[in-house]
Amino acid sequence: MHLIQQLLFILFAGAAIYFFAKKVGEIRRNIKLGRDEDRTDNSSARWRNVLLQAFGQKKMFKKPTPAILHFFVYAGFIIINIEILEIFLDGILGKHRMFVPMLGGLYSFLIGFFEILGALVLISCVVFLIRRNILHVKRLSQHELDGWPKTDANLILITEVILMSLFLTMNTADQVLQSRGVEHYVLTEPFWVTGHFTGMLSGMSTGALIALERSCWWLHIVGVFLFLNYLPYSKHLHIVLAFPNAYYTRLDPQGEMSNMKEIQNEVLYMMQPELAPAADPNQPQQHRFGAKDVMDLSWKNLMDAYSCTECGRCTASCPANITGKKLSPRKIMMDTRDRLEEVGKNIDKNKSFVDDGKSLVHDYITVEELRACTTCQACVEACPVGIEPLSIINQLRRYLVMEESNSPQEWNLMFGNVENNMAPWKFSPDERDRWAEEMASA
């Protein structure tokens, strides 16, 4: 009987890890579809961002209530995973609470600590469910979340509530069995949380308790494995990608827009033809200007899309969105991920990407959304994990203007004025220092 359980466990764990690794490989490949961009400089500043933003969740604390609740869930997730290690080894080796003899008194202390965290995770997730479904916090109930994104969010929270309930029920049953001296159930000190609830189960027969304890144990670990495989399909992937994303986030001042070297050179060679290199027939073909589709964005933009957990702090701070425009920085990230997933499936099916007549601009993100951006950087500032929606918006705008000549009439006038009058308005360059002349005569 034990052997079958062990084999089943190993089979299940192996499958879970295999499928997870496979999907991670796909995501990695998808991210690498993006253009090259060097984000490896200044590693000390980057590690600082990992510590402060990812581990320390610095930006979350701009909104203290969700920040504290989120911190419980996050700490619970990381720390309770230590307990998963024991459960995992027990499963493979067919033991029960194999760390008890090794850790002695420390064991009950650790489990007690995990239980407190588990209870906090449970309470926090319930509060999160209330915020989403009853209080309808604005940023958590906006239109771009209709359908799958809302279901995804609720599934994550409900799963965590169930997993924590299983963990706590299992421990409660375990302690009743310990007190009855049942074989395998090694005696420990009472656990801090569930130690108080043993009375609720003391009326059950030993057989029923063993069944309960075993069911919880199995459902919990199976749930964990299933959840692991759910992650790559969910916004919850941020629990993994928040860390690398914080590392690779930009270090330049937020106001700085990335340079387009190819255009810089083109202008330089036009002004100073003697600097132009001789035409090279082997030169790789010019890339399109700006970004039309996900492959035109940088790999970091694509990693951003997979790191986004759709919390909406960006959208809640976006002046365009606040005043009722269609632009939502969160939707920019969600669209980028959706399109990237679609491109990935296309590659899975056809070995390499086959034109499907669609693109990120137009089919996912409309011109109206892009035109509404004031480049104020509030979305970038707001993101707790260092995502830059503005970078994507800027690249899509470059494509619209330079490849499609798609700009509003007023912008065309402005471009004409800058080019001809050296100012965005229609004034003569001779008038530029008129104010100074006025001061001289005053």
């Binding site: 700085e256 330089l268 606040i322 005043t323 203007v401 965005p424 004034f427 001061m439």
Partner: protein
């Protein structure tokens, strides 16, 4: 007062302490010209040797670049850098955060390396150094004033304190809006929005921001950007508060408070 150009300094074989980059708004826009004049007046009064490029100055290319027209931006940047490097300019002060950001952060990669300072930081330094002396009990003493963080000075370049320190030096009663500093709300002009109609929405961004500023009960909204000044002035008019609430650039406030 005669404002000298770089060409005049160069003709005498001299270099000014600093180049005042006026920017297109500061040069052509009637409201912003007042800010330009106020700042020039301060520099002149305290004896800062400064020059302007005059007719040689061109748009930095900021609105073109933000709209997506990188070609036009690169053309403007190339020409400006030629001019600036030709004069051997080392230090630039500007009263426009968009010019400030692009000169400071985006020109170096194109070969234009200068020490670039926003005028609010420059004013704060002049006050700290004792070069700018302010009247005791000036016009703004004890007045309720709110400060609007422009995006490209604040979030763009992390400058939040210098403008506030200038306001403190004027002895104002500074009242902050809820959305201030890193959370400051845009005036709606950035990203070349100044040059087009807003997209369809429930309200205009400048109306939203001006309403927030008016709600603080301030009688003056202090700004640091010619575009914010225009947008907020329009927003105040929309609320029909132009008789009780004024939008002023920090340079204008300092100019009115200079000790004799």
């Amino acid at each position: 007062m005669h404002i000298k150009s770089m060409a005049e300094y160069a003709a005498n074989g001299e270099n000014p302490e600093v180049l005042f980059w006026v920017g297109c708004a500061g040069s052509f826009d009637q409201r912003a010209q007042k800010i330009t004049k106020a700042f020039a007046q301060i520099l002149d009064k305290v004896g800062v040797q400064f020059a302007i490029l005059g007719k040689e100055e061109m748009c930095t290319g900021d609105p073109a670049r933000r709209a997506g027209n990188e070609f036009l931006f690169q053309m403007m940047a190339y020409n400006n850098i030629q001019t600036l490097n030709g004069y051997g300019v080392k230090k630039i002060v500007t009263a426009c955060p968009h010019c400030f950001n692009i000169l400071k952060n985006e020109y170096p990669e194109l070969g234009g390396n200068y020490e670039v300072i926003h005028h609010t930081t420059f004013l704060q330094q002049l006050i700290n150094d004792g070069r700018v002396r302010l009247k005791e009990g000036g016009d703004f003493k004890g007045k309720k004033i709110t400060y609007h963080d422009s995006c490209y000075l604040g979030r763009g370049n992390n400058i939040y304190e210098a403008p506030r320190e200038v306001l403190q030096a004027l002895d104002v009663e500074l009242v902050e809006m809820k959305r201030c500093r890193t959370n400051g709300l845009c005036c709606g002009a950035g990203g070349a929005q100044m040059f087009k109609e807003e997209e369809k929405g429930d309200t205009r961004i400048n109306f939203e921001r001006s309403a927030e500023a008016i709600d603080t009960g301030a009688t003056i909204i202090a700004a640091n950007c010619p575009f914010c000044t225009t947008m907020l002035t329009d927003g105040v008019k929309n609320k029909e508060k132009e008789d009780s609430v004024m939008v002023m650039d920090i340079a204008e406030m300092v100019a009115r408070s200079l000790a004799d």
